[in-house]
C-alpha cells in the first residue's frame, strides 16, 4: 500500500517535529555542561539518547496506528513517542524533571509512559517486547481491536527476550509487530561484530512468521511494509518482524565522541539524511513548494518551542513527592 499525499505530509511533519525536538534538546542539554562535561548538570541531567536520523522508522509505522493501539519503545524513544501522539508538553516536562511531566519527574527520558495513547518504553534492551506481547494477548483475549508494536534496536535481536517473545507471539498468533531499528551500532560495537547473520528479519523464519527488510531508511518503504504487517495483525493472522536499515545521526548518547565510527561514515550518513530526501520527493511528486515547506517548518518549530517553554516554565516537584506512586 502506498501512502496518500496526506499520509506523506503527516509523516514529513512528524519527522520535522521530531528532528527539531531532538536538536532543541541537544542544545539545551549542553547548558551547564561546558566547559567540563558533567552529566548531572544543566536543565536536562542524566543520559540522553537522541533519535536524529531514525525518524522514518517511527513515522512509517505509526502512520498506521491510532491512540488505542499499543507501542513499546526503547531507551531512544522520542521519535516514536512523537509519532504515536504522546503529549509533547508533558513529555518535554518529564525530560526536564518537572512536576507537570508525564510521571511528575519520576521517569525521565528513558521511561516515557502516556496511558492516553498506550505508549511506554523501557531503558533495558529488548524488554519492551514482553509487554507488547502481553498487550496483544490482552486484546486477543478480550476480542478488542488493536495491535501492539514493539520497537527495538538491532542489538536487541541478540537478547533472550527477543527469541522468547517472538516464539510466544507466534505460538499464540498474537496481533503484534516487532520493528527493529537497525542503526548498525550497539553503542560502539558494530552489528557485524555482534550478530551472526547479516539481517535480523531472517530470524523470523525460525518462528514461523513473516520477516521483512526495509533498506535505505526510506519512510515510504517503511510505510508500505509496516502497513502490510499491521493489517495482517489486525486480521488476526499473527505477528511479523521488520528490520529497517536506519541511521543514527547522533552519538549513542550525548557526550559520545563516536571514535568507533570509520572515517567518513558520519558524513556519508548525513548525505543520506531522510528529511531533505522526503522534502525533495514531496516537491517532485506532490507540488510541494518552498513556501509550503517554510510554513510547515515554522509550525513544527513553534509546536516544539511551546513544549520546551512549558517544560522550562513548569515547577519542579516537591522532593518528598518521590515517596508517592510506588503503589496505587
Amino acid at each position: 500500500m502506498k501512502p496518500s499525499k496526506e499520509q506523506q505530509l503527516w509523516m514529513y511533519e512528524h519527522m520535522l517535529i521530531s528532528r527539531y525536538f531532538e536538536e532543541s534538546i541537544e542544545t539545551i542539554y549542553m547548558e551547564g555542561k561546558t566547559p567540563a562535561f558533567n552529566m548531572a548538570k544543566g536543565p536536562i541531567p542524566g543520559e540522553m539518547h537522541l533519535s536524529n536520523g531514525q525518524e522514518p522508522c517511527a513515522v512509517g509505522v505509526c502512520a498506521h496506528l491510532n491512540a488505542s493501539d499499543i507501542v513499546t519503545s526503547t531507551h531512544r524513544p522520542h521519535h516514536v513517542a512523537i509519532a504515536k501522539g504522546v503529549d509533547l508538553d508533558r513529555m518535554t516536562a518529564e525530560i526536564f524533571g518537572k512536576k507537570t511531566g508525564l510521571s511528575g519527574g519520576r521517569g525521565g527520558h528513558m521511561h516515557i509512559f502516556d496511558a492516553a495513547v498506550n505508549f511506554s518504553c523501557s531503558g533495558i534492551i529488548a524488554q519492551g517486547m514482553g509487554p507488547a506481547v502481553g498487550a496483544a494477548l490482552s486484546r486477543q483475549m478480550q476480542q478488542k481491536d488493536g495491535v501492539a508494536v514493539a520497537f527495538l534496536g538491532e542489538g536487541a535481536a541478540n537478547q533472550g527476550a527477543f527469541h522468547e517473545t517472538l516464539n510466544l507471539a507466534a505460538v499464540w498468533k498474537l496481533p503484534v509487530v516487532f520493528v527493529i531499528e537497525d542503526n548498525a551500532w550497539g553503542i560502539s560495537v558494530s552489528k557485524s561484530a555482534s550478530t551472526a547473520i547479516e539481517r535480523n528479519d531472517q530470524r523470523a523464519a525460525a518462528y514461523g512468521m513473516p520477516g521483512h527488510f526495509v533498506p535505505g531508511n526510506d519512510p515510504l518503504a517503511v510505510f508500505e511494509v509496516a502497513g502490510e504487517a499491521i493489517e495482517r495483525a489486525r486480521r488476526g493472522e499473527g505477528p511479523s518482524l521488520i528490520e529497517i536499515e536506519t541511521y543514527r545521526l547522533a552519538g549513542h548518547f550525548m557526550g559520545d565522541a563516536e571514535g568507533y565510527r570509520p572515517e567518513g561514515e558520519k558524513d556519508a550518513l548525513f548525505a543520506k539524511d531522510p528529511i531533505p530526501k522526503m522534502r525533495a520527493q514531496l516537491q517532485a511528486q506532490h507540488g510541494w513548494t518552498d513556501s509550503d515547506d517554510a510554513a510547515l517548518v515554522t509550525r513544527c518549530h513553534a509546536r516544539v518551542d511551546t513544549a520546551i517553554a512549558f517544560a522550562r516554565d513548569s515547577a519542579f516537584p516537591a522532593p518528598e513527592e518521590a515517596m508517592e506512586k510506588v503503589f496505587v
Binding site: 519520576r106 511506554s120 533495558i124 509487554p131 502481553g134 527476550a161 510506588v326 503503589f327
Partner: protein, 342 residues
C-alpha cells in the same frame, strides 16, 4: 443457641485454586498463565480444576520462556487485564528478573501512577526434600528488598485463600510465595498444621497485616511460612518448661507490619526471628533492626534462626542440618537465658 460450623479443611494448594476460581467467576479480566498450570493443574496443585472450568484461553500453559511471559503479564496488566502468573520455582527468577523488578515493579511509579500493573506472581519456595540449591531457596528478601512489589507468604490454607483473593483484587503487583512443604502435596512432605478450615465464601486477608498465632508473654518468635510452624512447635516444647512464647506470623513482607511485631516484643522483651531464607541481609535482620530502631528495651540480645549463607546442599544429612527447626529455636532461647543469667 450456637450455629454449627461445618469444618472444611483444605490444603494451601486447594485454597489457592479456590480463591483463583472464585475471582475468575466474578471478573473476566482475571486469567492464569505459566508452565503446566493448564490440564496438569500446576506442579504444586494450585491451579487444579481451573482449566476444566475456564478453558485454555483463561488458563494458559506457556512455553518455558519466563522472560516472555513475565513481560507479557506486565503488558496485559497495563492493558486492563489481571493476570495471575506462575514462576514454578522462585529459584527460576534469575532467567526473568528484569521483567519483574524493572517492569512489573517500576512501571506504576514511572507512569506517575497512571499505568497500574495488577499482576499476581505466584511462586513456590523452600526446601527440605533434597532438591538442592536451584530448587529449594526461599529468596524472601530478594523480592521484599526491591520496591514496587507487595510480597505475601501464607503459612496455612485460611491465609492462603484470603491473601490470594486480596492479591488478585489489588491494583499493584503482588508476589505470592507459597512454601512447598506447606502445600499439602504429600510427595513434598506435608505440614499438617497448614491444613485448616477454609470458609467456602470469598474473603480477603489484608495484605500488610501480621497475625499473632499464639499468645505468650516471655518471648516473641517471629516467622514466615515454615518458620511459623517451627515457632509453634518450639512454643509447645517451651510451654512444657513453663515458658510462654508468643508466635507472630508475618504473612506479608511488603508492606511489613512492624507494629504487630513491636507490640509483641514490648510485651515479651525477647525476640527470635525464624526465616528459611539466607541469614545475612535478610528478613531476620530487617525485623531485628526495626525493633532496635524503636529502642524497645530487651531482656536479652535478639536471635535469628535462618538458613546459613551457603548454597543449599543436596544430601539430606547436610540439608537437614542447615535448615531452621524447632530445636534450633529452643537452642536460641536457651542461649538468651544464659546471656541473661551471666
Amino acid at each position: 443457641m450456637t450455629v454449627a460450623t461445618k469444618e472444611r479443611k483444605l490444603t494451601i494448594a486447594r485454597a489457592m485454586a479456590e480463591a483463583i476460581a472464585q475471582e475468575m467467576r466474578i471478573d473476566e479480566k482475571v486469567f492464569v498463565m505459566g508452565e503446566d498450570v493448564g490440564p496438569l493443574g500446576g506442579v504444586f496443585g494450585n491451579t487444579r480444576g481451573l482449566h476444566e472450568e475456564f478453558g485454555s484461553v483463561r488458563v494458559r500453559d506457556t512455553p518455558i520462556s519466563e522472560t516472555a511471559f513475565m513481560g507479557a503479564a506486565v503488558g496485559a496488566a497495563s492493558d486492563g487485564m489481571r493476570p495471575i502468573v506462575e514462576l514454578m520455582f522462585v529459584d527460576f527468577f534469575g532467567v526473568c528478573f528484569d521483567a519483574i523488578y524493572n517492569l512489573m515493579a517500576k512501571n506504576t511509579y514511572f507512569s506517575g501512577g497512571e499505568t497500574p500493573v495488577p499482576v499476581v506472581l505466584m511462586t513456590s519456595t523452600g526446601g527440605g526434600y533434597s532438591d538442592a540449591g536451584q530448587h529449594s531457596q526461599c529468596l524472601h528478601a530478594t523480592f521484599a528488598h526491591l520496591p514496587g512489589m507487595k510480597v505475601v507468604a501464607p503459612s496455612n490454607a485460611y491465609d492462603a485463600k484470603g491473601l490470594m483473593t486480596a492479591a488478585i483484587r489489588d491494583n499493584n503487583p503482588v508476589i505470592f510465595m507459597f512454601h512447598k512443604a506447606l502445600q499439602g502435596m504429600g510427595w513434598l512432605g506435608t505440614e499438617k498444621d497448614a491444613i485448616v478450615h477454609v470458609p467456602e465464601e470469598a474473603y480477603e486477608v489484608p495484605i500488610g497485616k501480621a497475625a499473632v498465632v499464639r499468645e505468650g508473654s516471655d518471648v516473641t518468635i517471629v516467622g514466615i511460612t515454615s518458620g511459623v510452624h517451627h515457632g509453634l512447635k518450639a512454643a509447645r516444647v517451651l510451654a512444657e518448661r513453663g515458658i510462654s512464647a508468643e508466635v507472630v506470623d508475618l504473612r506479608s513482607l511488603v508492606p511489613l507490619d512492624r507494629e504487630t511485631v513491636l507490640a509483641s516484643v514490648r510485651k515479651t522483651g525477647r525476640l527470635i526471628v525464624v526465616d528459611e531464607d539466607y541469614q545475612s541481609y535478610g528478613m531476620s535482620a530487617e525485623i531485628i533492626s526495626s525493633v532496635a530502631e524503636q529502642g524497645v528495651a530487651l531482656k536479652a540480645a535478639p536471635q535469628r534462626v535462618a538458613y546459613p549463607d551457603i548454597p543449599i546442599p543436596f544430601t539430606p544429612v547436610m540439608e537437614q542440618w542447615a535448615l531452621p527447626s524447632p530445636e534450633k529455636i529452643i537452642a536460641a532461647f536457651e542461649k538468651m537465658q544464659k546471656m541473661e543469667t551471666r
